[in-house]
Symmetry: C2
Subunit: 143 residues, 2 copies
Amino acid sequence: MIDIAYEEAQAGLAEGGIPIGAALFAADGRLLGRGRNRRVQQGDPSLHAEVDAFRAAGRQRDYRSTVMATTLSPCWYCSGLVRQFNIGSLLVGECRTFSGGQDWLAENGVRVTVLDDDRCSAMMTAFIAEHPDLWHEDIGLAP
Amino acid sequence: MIDIAYEEAQAGLAEGGIPIGAALFAADGRLLGRGRNRRVQQGDPSLHAEVDAFRAAGRQRDYRSTVMATTLSPCWYCSGLVRQFNIGSLLVGECRTFSGGQDWLAENGVRVTVLDDDRCSAMMTAFIAEHPDLWHEDIGLAP
């Protein structure tokens, strides 16, 4: 599951975007939707990776058995998405370069797994070093 | 400000959508973006009203002095948006038909005003009575 999210992040990087990818899966492992951060590509600040994957999955009636995989710890916006729609499980590639709402989600009943994946953290660490302004914009940190 | 959010909600209702509207304003009252829930119209579950208004405002570098006006108390997804991007002020039409994250946001530094607007609550109460399934789908309540 994290491999698909990572592929999305790499595709975003190749497009000149912020390399964060995500994918939503059914309980049986079937892919429901995959996506990536598209702030740069589409000039759309609302398309964080998790939101893009959620959107790609279309209208669903029950998310309780689904798994959201994301290369990076989800920010409050994406954590709120997971909590509101009762997405059952969250798989986080890494939370070293950014630590978001994974503990808050775990406290509220989401099954959280943090993989501490070296590919994910290396990719994000390098990106932040090269493009700090873009990264800060993406998480709402004003100059 | 709430009038523009209300107009958006009414436009959504006329389209057969869920009647929730929102708008993002600069500190001087200038409209940055307006939007509405488009789950039905675009088959897009990610487009809650606040997200649609945020998207319409495009990329911004600093949200601290902005005001998000919304006809209905923001769910966790939209509350997470407000918190992550440090949107300074939240104007809520009503929180009688649905009570979301306004207290959580106030505790975290957002200036929150709840208007208890009768037009907003009448519109939403009537919609929920007529379309409970659609409403439950929109807030992630499984059947």
